[in-house]
Amino acid sequence: MKTPAGLDAVIVGAGHNGLVAACYLARSGLKVLVLERQPYIGGAAVSRRLYEDFTYSNCSYVCSLLRPEIIRTLELPKYGLQVIPYEGGCTMMQGGGHLALYDNHDALRREISRHSKRDAEAYDRYSRDVMRQCKFIKPLLMHEPPDPTSFKPRDLMELLYLGKRFHNLGEKRMYDTLRFWTMSAADFLDEYFESEIVKAHFAGSSIIGTALGPRSPGTAYVLLHHYMGDIDDTVGAWGFARGGMGAISNALGASFEASGGTIRSGAPVAKILVRNGRASGVALADGEEIRAPLVISNLDVRRTFLETMDAKDLPEEFLGQVKNFKIRGSSGKLNIALDGLPQFPAIPPGSPCTRGDMHVTDTIEMMERAYDDWKDGRWSRAPYIDMLIPSQIDPTMVPAGKHYMSVFVQYCPYELADGPWDAAKRQAFGDTVINTIAQHSPNFKNLILHAEIRTPWDIENEVGLTEGNIFQGELTMDQLLFNRPVPGYAQYRSPVRGVYMCGSSTHPGGGVMGAPGANAARAVLRDLGRAP
């Protein structure tokens, strides 16, 4: 991997957003180098083999947000990306019983009716309202957010666009939108459902990845964020990436290299170099310096400006805002190799709902308690888990007859009240999760061949996500749209000319979506006077 001369741009980090930005820049003719700290690419969208022939989606595990226009433009299917839908999902209840989600609308209605007839019909209203909000927000995803204080024609046009869309909603829906963006998921769900289990099931996505509880204001938006992939009416954009989430990053890498780009992995960047107030390149940890007039950082905003740049190169007020950027770790992850398929006695035989996302938290109260533990600086004793067995659908991940289980865990703190993380504590955290699952699956423990246990601390160290925050920063109103990552710098540019941001810290935020990377590339190209 030698470094090409005459670089136009260096991208720091081969997370999927860095790779998306890299692809767009290379396609428009720039000479681009991507530098990645790890020996593999992908960041939090990665597939690795840590045990025999088992492939894990080590961090992210479902592809729900990746923008179809990116898949198409960058020709990702040609480079091996295939997204396969999964079926339904369920929440198993304490002491038996369950709520399943089925793709078939009539099956779903009859299923919810088992818990509440009214909720079964309220579900349509709920989906409608979520879709209405998503439809409003969707076009904003691939837009650079306007700067509300600027009088530049572009900003005014974008603001006008935003305002017009808002106005078109009509008065009532406008109120709904404002409420939606600020209320708690629990309050939001209370407006539709009466059954605890139904509310608990839908509340799940409102807490995934956030340091908030289902009763915290702002979580209704997080719930929406997770639904954003549902709106595209494009079949096949939602589900498992065949081969794990790394398939996305690998396809991006291949697409990038096919347009002449270069990736250097195992090349940690120590410093973004600034000369005369503009970017001049980067210095690697081993001292090697690489020159380029543009440096685009895929790292989160804290890591970019506080750790890889000199404070003296940055305005003080900006630094203060970056320091205040909320980026708290709250999630853990287990990847488990299984000798066979675990049984879940609560699920009736033949139900396809175990082929989707499975949960064991059956009340919002339980979720809030799990959050209380996090606030107290310990992992949830009864954690919320989002558990899937992709190997039931994806034949590429494990040897025949074996299975891979991905378990996302909420909540797990970055810093424990009783001192730093160590191997014993990590194991104890893992055991808590395994025991939680075992309560619902008698043969589960006996099937475990290997488990990768990741705390927020591990995620920070391995992936580079500050505090292990999966979204590179909380998705709260004060950190969204033109406030993301910090007011005045929501357009992928930084205070230093030639230094850009393209990670999930920027609009529209975290998840394997690719939108920040694509938007950032567009901003760079616009500044260069090139057509995106």
Partner: protein, 400 residues
């Protein structure tokens, strides 16, 4: 009700109590889902079934129609707040066609209200909405419950339907007036009949205990044998209802409870159902918005179109001119009417072009052996319904 033996995640659709009878008559295995049940779309051919509606008598399984029981001391004030028509005026044993709206005056659904007894009403409608009905009931002393599964229903429609029912043993059926409810016995079975239907023809709807369903079906089939009885599917019914000018949810309008995009909601005034809105009865949901719309005039309206040529204008866009320069609406339902020998359609058309007598143009695409041709056809805005036979109202009806 005959729940399918398989669990819902293996067989999501329920079977109606007539299912076995219908399956036995189905020649082409053409079933479609309707409100959670599997029902017949076509038994033999759509045309044969359609002509049975206009020529003889037909059975159509109506069981999936969603039914709610509304009872209690506040039933009338409750219903009066819910729907736009004055329910206080509904006499005992009568049925009224009604619509209900949200606060913005946008249509949630249409349906019928049956007055079955003191403080005892039934709402029949196409879509489930207990959620809306219960929310609307806050502050009223009423009980509301879904009774869909407790009542099996058959639509008996066509010129010989009265004669057939008489032959089956329903004494006095010929005296039942349009929108009237009557109670009859057939052997040991008690039946409720209403002179209602969705075909615009002479016809009845028969409401019964699901346990009696197969017996009643057999009796009616036997009684109708010499009167050309046929079981019909949804396709034939759809032809008849377009001729009759009736609207269908998710075809001619989308319930305001389901629209996602702004501007897709429809008011009853826009749908040409202004005659169902009673501004003098006191408050009802949507009244203020509808009053405003009435004063300012509707921006668009559902109209009947009589289109040149004989090619149905399915999904056609509507223009002011044959050059297709100004788009002013689109067709929601279209067909060649075999009875009227007219090319008819229901369409949503912008103001002011929805006045009866206006000329508009429909852009019709024709598939001629896989070669598509585009036609601009002149269309006239005409009165609905397109077809209103005398027999529909005649009491007593004739033998055929």
């Amino acid at each position: 009700m005959t729940d399918s033996p398989a669990p819902h995640y293996k067989q999501p659709l329920l079977k109606t109590p007539f299912h076995e009878r219908a399956r036995a008559l189905s020649q082409i295995d053409s079933f479609i889902p309707w409100a959670g049940y599997t029902t017949v779309d076509v038994f033999t051919t759509m045309e044969q079934e359609y002509f049975a509606v206009r020529n003889a008598t037909t059975l159509y399984d109506l069981t999936p129609m969603v039914k709610y029981r509304v009872s209690g001391p506040d039933a009338v004030p409750y219903l009066n707040r819910l729907v736009t028509r004055d329910v206080a005026k509904l006499k005992p044993d009568r049925v009224a066609y009604v619509v209900w709206c949200n606060d913005a005056g946008h249509l949630i659904d249409d349906g019928t209200i049956f007055r079955l007894g003191a403080g005892e009403y039934r709402i029949c409608t196409a879509e489930r909405q207990i959620d809306w009905l219960l929310d609307s009931a806050i502050g009223f002393d009423v009980q509301i419950g879904e009774v869909t599964e407790q009542i099996a229903a058959l639509a008996v429609q066509g010129p010989t339907s009265c004669a057939m029912l008489k032959a089956a043993g329903l004494r006095g059926i010929e005296l039942l007036k349009p929108f009237e409810i009557g109670y009859f016995s057939l052997g040991e079975h008690r039946l409720t009949l209403s002179r209602t239907g969705f075909t615009g023809d002479l016809g009845y709807e028969v409401w019964m205990d699901p346990a009696a369903a197969e017996t009643i079906w057999d009796i009616l089939m036997a009684a109708g044998r010499s009167r050309g009885i046929r079981a019909i599917g949804s396709q034939a019914l759809n032809m008849a209802r377009i001729e009759a000018g009736f609207i269908m949810p998710n075809v001619d309008f989308v319930s305001a409870e389901h629209t996602i995009r702004t501007g897709r909601d429809r008011s009853p005034l826009e749908l040409g159902l202004g005659w169902l809105v009673d501004f003098n009865k006191g408050h009802f949901t949507g009244r203020r918005a509808l009053l405003t719309e009435k004063k300012q005039g509707s921006r668009r309206q559902l109209v009947g179109l009589d289109i040149a040529g004989n090619k149905p204008a399915h999904n056609a866009l509507i223009y002011t001119d044959d050059g297709g320069k100004r788009e002013i609406g689109s067709v929601t339902s279209a067909m060649w009417s075999p009875t009227c020998k007219r090319n008819i359609a229901l369409a949503i058309v912008d103001a002011p072009h929805f006045q009866v007598g206006s000329t508009v143009w429909a852009e019709i695409y024709l598939n001629r052996e896989l070669v598509w041709e585009r036609r601009m056809s002149r269309a006239q805005v005409v009165e609905r319904p397109f077809f209103v036979p005398e027999r529909r109202r005649a009491t007593p009806p004739a033998e055929f």
